[in-house]
């Protein structure tokens, strides 16, 4: 993953709560075996509606999505994160998030900025007032700012997520620094091996 320090761009107010991952990327899109090209599927059922905010030319090219509570609940599909990023979003600001979505975002470098309901409402009105306003999200300082207005709010990232974002660290690499611990653990693990349970073709062997 690429390191992320500061995100600077225009923002889109979604103004919806409980935006689940089935809305972010409908299941039709999950048949693909690639990791790219999901941007076209982002909110695809809502985008057919000409009045949907992403169809508003004022918000074209925005890099920050501002949403209501419980954004990204539901399915574990990382495709939701791929779709948001492929479309051009680098951060999502909302009052709360689905746990798995938040996790998946941290693996891809999509910044999750959690602000209170009233802060999100204020940010939404600032953008509504002037959609051209720049929003700046600083991962190092952990704040969201609308520089033209002096509006700044801080958010919290857990220290590890912040480090990983700032350094662009790959999780597998980080874990493999502890490979000897894994090997030691395996010597006394209770994990029941499936070896001997199935034959080559997955049929149960008599035991």
């Amino acid at each position: 993953m690429k390191a992320v320090h500061v995100i600077e761009g225009r923002a889109v107010p979604l103004e919806r709560s409980d935006v689940d991952t089935d809305q972010i990327i409908p299941s039709d899109w999950l048949k693909r075996v690639e990791r790219t090209g999901f941007g076209r599927g982002l909110f695809s059922e809502w985008r057919d509606d000409p009045s949907f905010v992403l169809n508003d030319a004022q918000f074209a090219g925005a890099s920050v999505l501002v949403a209501g509570p419980r954004f990204g609940t539901g399915s574990s599909r990382e495709h939701a994160v791929w779709a948001l990023m492929d479309y051009g979003f680098q951060a999502v600001v909302a009052p709360s998030f689905g746990d798995i979505f938040r996790n998946n975002s941290s693996k891809q470098g999509l910044v999750i900025a959690q602000l209170s309901v009233s802060d999100v409402e204020e940010l939404t009105s600032l953008i509504r007032e002037d959609p051209a306003r720049l929003v700046v999200i600083d991962v190092e300082k952990m704040d969201v700012e609308v520089p033209a207005t002096g509006w700044v709010r801080s958010f919290v990232l857990d220290p590890m997520t912040r480090e990983r974002l700032l350094n662009g660290w790959d999780d597998i690499g980080l874990t493999l620094r502890h490979e000897s611990d894994i090997t030691t653990f395996e010597s006394h693990s209770h994990a029941p091996s499936l070896r001997g349970l199935f034959d080559q073709s997955g049929h149960l062997l008599a035991r």
Binding site: R16, S17, D18, D20, D22, Q23, P26, S27, D28, L30, K31, R32, V33, E34, R35, E45, R70, T73, G74, S75, S76, R77, E78, H79, V81, G98, D99, I100, N103, N104, K107, Q108, V117, D158, P159, M160, D171, I172, L174, T175, L176, H178, E179, D181, I182, F185, E186, S189, H190, A191, P192, S193, L194, R195, L197, F198, G202, H203, L204, R207
Partner: protein, 468 residues
């Protein structure tokens, strides 16, 4: 020392390393894989020249995408076919056991784990699917992960994790006969709300939970994620041990008794403290149905469609308005006056043999209403064969239900089993999100017996109405 909760016991036993200032690393005992969330993970392994660390702790099945038409009909959608082929190729390349479409062990990933006895108490289990929580019914810590984490587990057999908070959801007393496990969990999700469980692992406790069969507990744990919790657990008891006895993946003879002794330790200690406790009274529960577009929007089957005016909170008011508009419902309409177009009995929530038995008991000697299309999709091949042995397929077919091949099917509509725009379903699945069962489709979540009764009467109904 104060006692530990079940969650804490499993966590402690799987802690590989707790490096200062970093996430803890926990060991994963079983990694379940399916075609939808794995291709990009296997690609990642290839790109970085990594292997699957423990193919013997990894098991794959095709489920999300498979058509449920007779096996003689090939997979016609080329993108789906490509994904199913990719699963087989990846598993062959990396030495992972896989059950493709038509295999005798194939089925929905959360149905086959317990069924084969590879889901066992005290284990850590992950899968690139949020309903992995199902396996918690057996006292295993089981949760859904995204594709990057799938790759991480394939490569390292571990996951970086932060310890969750613990919540006890206690259902006291005994549920009336008309109340199924599905009704209990709909009541819980409605009480907690879609975000109420976020950050927690839930342990379901109380007499009404202990009364449930193992399959009922699976239905319950399955929907933990609908309350925002990544995992749900039920402590091990006699029901758990008896369910496991004789299954393919568990030891036999003395070795089973020895394993059972260890499994029985996977209960919360009496003096263990939970971060939060929520209590429900089972005697208050009734059959439920969802009316909206998130699974916490629940109402009694005897009730009416809610009115946005009943909500004080502005956010809830607008959510309700939006949901009702999508669902095409008018406030105040009695639920039992609402006609259904499609009935779906299936999904990892309710497609096991007990679910099919319960639905068949309602359907026996009846007929599906002429305006209704009704599908029964068993959770696995083994469930299908068991049901056929018991003659349940004939009961369903005689009553005008379709009897199909196993898979996720209309739970998420990735295969051809979909709702048409505007169609309304009574579905035994777990998500009523907009478009979940097909673009523009309107989903109402119900138990298997309510689904069967609604199929017969062509509107939402309870089983007692069918026989009266």
């Amino acid at each position: 020392m104060t006692g530990r909760t079940l969650y804490e016991k499993i966590w402690d036993e799987h802690l590989v390393a707790a490096p200062e200032g970093e996430s803890s690393i926990i060991y994963i005992d079983l990694h379940l894989v399916h075609e939808v969330t794995s291709p990009q993970a296997f690609d990642g392994l290839r790109l970085s020249n990594r292997r699957v660390r423990r193919p013997d702790l990894t098991l794959a099945t095709a489920d999300h995408n498979v058509p449920t038409e007779p096996l003689s009909i090939p997979v016609t959608d080329p993108i789906s076919r490509r994904q199913l082929e990719a699963l087989e190729e990846n598993c062959a390349q990396f030495g992972v056991t896989v059950f493709p479409r038509g295999h005798e062990n194939q089925g929905i990933v959360h149905v086959i784990g317990p069924e084969l006895g590879v889901t066992q108490p005290g284990m850590t289990i992950v899968c690139g699917d949020s309903h992995t929580s199902t396996h918690g019914a057996l006292g295993a810590l089981a949760f859904g992960i995204g594709t990057s984490e799938v790759e991480h587990v394939l490569a390292t057999q571990t996951l970086p994790q932060q310890r969750a908070k613990t919540m006890a959801v206690v259902v006291e007393g005994h549920a009336p006969d008309s109340v199924s496990a599905k009704d209990i969990v709909l009541a819980i999700v409605s009480t907690l709300g879609t975000g109420g469980g976020a950050g927690y692992v839930i342990e379901y406790r109380g007499a009404a939970i202990r009364d449930l069969s193992m399959e009922g507990r699976m239905t319950l744990c399955n929907m933990s994620i609908e309350a925002g919790a990544r995992a749900g657990l039920v402590a091990v008891d006699d029901t758990t041990i008896e369910y496991l006895r004789g299954r393919a993946g568990v030891p036999s003879g003395d070795a089973f008794e020895e394993a059972a002794r260890r499994w029985r330790t996977f209960v919360s200690d009496d003096d263990a403290a939970f971060d939060k406790t929520v209590t429900l009274n089972a005697a208050d529960l009734v059959p439920y149905v969802t009316w909206g577009t998130n699974p916490a929007q629940v109402v009694a089957l005897d009730g009416v469609v809610p009115d946005p005016a009943d909500f004080d909170d502005a956010d809830e008011k607008s959510t309700t308005e939006r949901s009702l508009a999508y669902m095409g419902l008018t406030p105040g309409t009695p639920i039992k006056d609402i006609p259904v177009d499609v009935v779906f009995i299936g999904s990892c929530t309710n497609s096991r043999i007990e679910d099919l038995r319960a639905a068949a008991a309602v359907a026996r000697g009846q007929h599906v209403a002429p305006s209704v299309r009704a599908l029964v999709v068993p959770g696995s091949h083994r469930v299908k064969i068991q049901a056929e042995t018991e003659g349940l397929d004939q009961v369903f077919l005689a009553a005008g239900f379709e009897w199909r091949e196993p898979g996720c099917s209309m739970c998420l509509g990735m295969n051809p089993d979909q709702l048409a725009p505007g169609q309304r379903s009574a579905s035994t699945s777990n998500r009523n999100f907009e478009g979940r069962q097909g673009r523009g489709g309107r989903t109402h979540l119900v138990s298997p017996v309510v689904a069967a009764a609604s199929a017969v009467l062509g509107r939402f109904a309870t089983p007692d109405e069918v026989n009266s």
